[in-house]
Amino acid sequence: MQTVILIIISLLIIPVLAAFIKKVKALLTGKQGPPLLIKYYTLVKLFAKGSVYSTSTTFIFRFMPVVALAAPLMALLFLPLAGAPALLSFAGDAILIFYLLGLARFFTVCAALDTASPFEGMGASREAFFSVLSEATLFMVLVLFYRINGSLSFSSYFQGNNPINLWSAEGTLLLLVVAALFMVLLAENARVPVDDPATHLELTMIHEVMILDHSGPDLALIELGAWTKLYFYAAFIANIMTPIYPGKPWATALVFLLIIVFIYFAVGLVESITARSKMNLVPKFILTSFSFAFFATILTMELTR
């Protein structure tokens, strides 16, 4: 029951949180910024519209928005929130989820190539390449988690005898993991310094350029999928960071929400104070996150001896 409520709350605040980053960026540059409900207005606007499809496109282009939303929604079903067990869980669901996100990426990339636009091809190429490196980081983190916790599903990571928690004995390592996952979050969700969601030049985009030709409800579904994916990664990190107060689920939930807000704030902060990297420096950025994860794994060999 608690989980269902939490998922509904999550779904409701996902657009608000996405707008929150904009707000943070605006406030940090001394502007007022858009209202927090701006993404809702965007959704309503897009849902009300029709679409224009390129004559070059095929059914893949129309199918992609559905997959791009379904995969992150599935991820949300398997992710425990605020100490409450996930709605569904089985051994190895972490692998399934990351591969489903891969499926969404497959269709996003294909839909971009479907438009025959060179700019979309450019974005697709970058997306496909950079995700190779972030996947390496993610699976390194999973290896570490297995070594600490002995399980392979999101639910059991954060429960049982040896939960993965920043405030436990393995905190030092998990600090590194949190840093690595945050970098992956930035890379996978097209944020600065990997990609700039607010840039105006198609040549320099990654995610935004791939969906240039989508419009109307299709675009709305894609945007919703992108926000959900961002929330999934943020909630994943927040689960590691949230201290568990036994017997007080709502206190945990509150702290969890605060930490999520903090993560979104951190995204906005990073976006305000750093410039986006040159494209050839992006692999280095993601590799750094891999090195964190790998390094933390090496340390387990020392610490658990």
């Binding site: 390449f129 995700s131 993610l138 494209m279």
Partner: protein, 654 residues
């Protein structure tokens, strides 16, 4: 064993029939196709019956009154027979429409002749129970496949490909024969089971010799050099069969001899795992760089062999460490991947064949937009691509998931084994990511967008038989992905027999399959709900068609599209140290520049090293001996006489 031999006989009969009727183009094809598919179907049924047979049937012959040949159909052989006969059946059906040039009647007949020989030889390879039978069947398989590569022998590169293939297959066989010789010298027995009686040091030598010999057939890096050449030269149904099944014979050999040796050292697992990681990662990097669609698929076969070896290597490590469960998961995953790869790689090669048939070119960068003209092939290829990227809900995911599950429990190893296990997991993830890049490139450049050349504009969809084969394979991909229990359950029996254990964690395994089914069905359900929602959102809305927005650029031509080469360029640049790119750019100069050209070709490290470090020095050394070959027949005969006298003298003196 009799039904099995009858099936082989039926298959082999197809060859002479084809040669007999080669003048009649329809009939000359129909007969061998019927014979091969009928025989394969019979073989398939026999194989399926022997999955769990308690007492494997055996057969023995005395060949030329001297050489004993023994055959045995145990669960492992039965399992490997399934892709052999299954893919042979579909490839034969496919070939009926694919080989449709009446001018090449005799050649087509010869193709069927060697094809039937190849199938029969493979059937014998997996059933051979002594080294003589294995060596005989192995050579038959090698020679038949060499001739199959030579189908389009007018092209110089095809002759070259067959030549390289021949060298590699014979050199690999030499290693095998060395191993067999060692076995016979030490134990005095020709039976395969005698391998268990070798001493520990010799076991390692024996295994290494076998690993090189079988590895060169499987296409393990750096013994894979022949593979991209041969697979791109052969006709597509042959490429499908070779890539889907023949290279698995190498895997079969490694599995068979590993279990026959009955060893407990971790070294074996480490060797295999390391080879798997290298082949997997390098294979897919090279695949991403290819522009010839069949070469790309060939390199991706090397990658999949790598995945299978990763699974087997982890299994061997687990078996050596006494972790039965881990070994069980990993071996089951590896074997399932053998089957899965046979299915989706054949599907992809058949799709590629259909593209080549329909457009006349195999260059990825010259195609484009085929999804409109060849929608069926497009969807089939897309299914294959999704499966090979190991994406749920398709079959590739199931086997990789099994290997992952096993490999993650390898995280509890210590020291080097742990690092190897962690590297294996990360390299599986990287392979997955790169496979996605490689196959989005293939699907996106070949089937999506706008046609880049005239060839890609004037296309025709493939024939009915080709479509039938591809439909069946695509259905298998989806069905295994959705309901893995149907294949995992019988496979578990095979793995149990291999590991000589009775306590198969069948409950865990079935729960595992149910989980995959649950995940896949949930996802499909969610997708369908969202599709309904989407169509509801579009109800009564205005939907227009217009050209793609060119971002302000108004004179776009199809040539402006991102090519496959440029799509893969950033990744290739990153992996430059292991996959160097040779570029040739003529450049523009002077006030009236001539037309310039740019060429890029990804270099295969192993091929470069082998050419520069081995082949050329040997060539140079042998050039000095050219004077021996001068063309004088009398002198040649003198050589023979001298050789005979020398050998007689040696026998007498020693």
């Amino acid at each position: 064993m009799n039904p099995f031999f009858f099936s082989l006989l039926c298959i082999v009969l197809g060859g002479p029939l084809a040669l007999l009727f080669h003048n009649n183009s329809k009939f000359g094809k129909l007969l061998p196709v019927m014979a091969i598919s009928g025989g394969s179907l019979g073989g398939l049924v026999t194989a399926l019956q022997h999955f769990t047979a308690p007492q494997p049937p055996t057969a023995e012959f005395l060949w030329l009154d001297w050489f004993p040949l023994a055959f045995r159909l145990d669960p492992l052989s039965a399992f490997f027979l399934v892709p052999v006969f299954g893919i042979a059946l579909l490839a034969a059906i496919y070939s009926f429409d694919y080989l449709d040039n009446p001018a090449k009647g005799l050649r087509t007949a010869a193709n069927y002749f060697f094809f039937s020989l190849l199938i029969a030889a493979m059937g014998l390879v997996v059933c051979a129970d002594n080294i003589l039978a294995l060596a005989l069947a192995w050579e038959l398989m090698s020679i038949a496949s060499c001739f199959l590569v030579l189908y389009d022998y007018e092209l110089k590169e095809n002759r070259q490909a067959a030549y390289i293939f021949f060298i590699f297959t014979q050199a690999g066989a030499m290693f095998l024969f060395a191993a067999f010789g060692l076995l016979y010298a030490q134990t005095g027995s020709v039976s395969l089971a005698a391998a268990a009686g070798l001493s520990d040091g010799l076991k390692l030598t024996f295994f290494l010799l076998c690993f090189i010999g079988f590895g060169s057939k499987a296409g393990i890096f750096p013994l894979h050099i022949w593979l991209p050449h041969a697979h791109s030269a052969a006709p597509s149904h042959i490429s499908a069969f070779m890539s889907g099944v023949m290279i698995k014979m190498g895997i079969y050999g490694i599995v068979r001899f590993y279990f026959l040796l009955n060893v407990e050292s971790v070294v074996y697992g480490q060797i295999v795992l390391f080879a798997g990681i290298i082949s997997g990662v390098l294979g897919i990097i090279y695949a991403a760089g290819q522009n010839h669609i069949k070469r790309m698929l060939a390199y991706s076969s090397i990658e999949n062999i790598g995945i299978i070896l990763i699974g087997m290597g982890m299994g061997m490590l687990g078996a050596a460490a006494g972790k039965k469960e881990l070994a069980f998961w990993c071996f089951t995953g590896a074997l399932l991947h053998v089957l899965n790869h046979a299915i989706f790689k054949s599907l992809l090669f058949m799709g590629a064949g259909s593209v080549i048939h329909g457009t006349g070119t195999a260059a990825i960068d010259r195609l484009g937009g085929l999804m409109k003209g060849m929608k069926f092939t497009g969807i089939a290829f897309l299914t294959g691509a999704l499966s090979i990227c190991a994406l749920p809900p398709f079959n590739g995911f199931v086997s990789e998931f099994l290997i992952y599950s096993g490999a993650f429990s390898g995280s509890s190893f210590e020291g080097w084994d742990f690092i190897l296990a962690a590297l294996a997991i990360v390299s599986l993830a990287v392979i997955g990511g790169l496979a996605l890049l490689c196959f989005t490139k293939a699907v996106g450049t070949v089937f999506l967008g706008e046609p880049r050349t005239v060839q890609a504009e004037k296309v025709h969809e493939c024939g009915r038989c080709m479509r039938l084969s591809m439909t069946l394979l695509a259905c298998f991909c989806l069905v295994i992905g959705l309901f893995p229990a149907i294949v995992v359950e019988p496979l578990a029996a095979v793995t149990g027999a291999l590991l000589k254990t009775n306590d198969i964690p069948m409950g865990d395994l079935l729960a595992f399959c149910d989980n995959i089914t649950l995940g896949a069905i949930l996802f499909l359900g969610l997708t369908i709900v969202l599709m309904i929602l989407r169509s509801w959102l579009y109800r009564g809305k205005q939907v227009d068609a217009a050209p793609t927005w060119g971002c302000g650029f108004t004179r776009a031509t199809p040539r402006i599209q991102y090519t496959g080469t440029s799509f893969a360029a950033p990744a290739l640049e990153f992996f430059g140290p292991v996959a160097p790119l040779r570029e040739e750019y003529t450049g523009l100069d002077g006030p009236f520049p001539k037309p310039s050209s740019y060429q890029s070709k990804p270099q295969d490290l192993a091929e470069e090293t082998a050419t520069i470090g081995v082949a050329l020095p040997i060539f140079r050394a042998l050039k000095r001996l050219r004077w021996i070959q001068h063309g004088n027949i009398q002198l040649y005969i003198a050589y023979i006489v001298v050789a005979i006298i020398l050998s007689i003298l040696i026998t007498f003196l020693v």
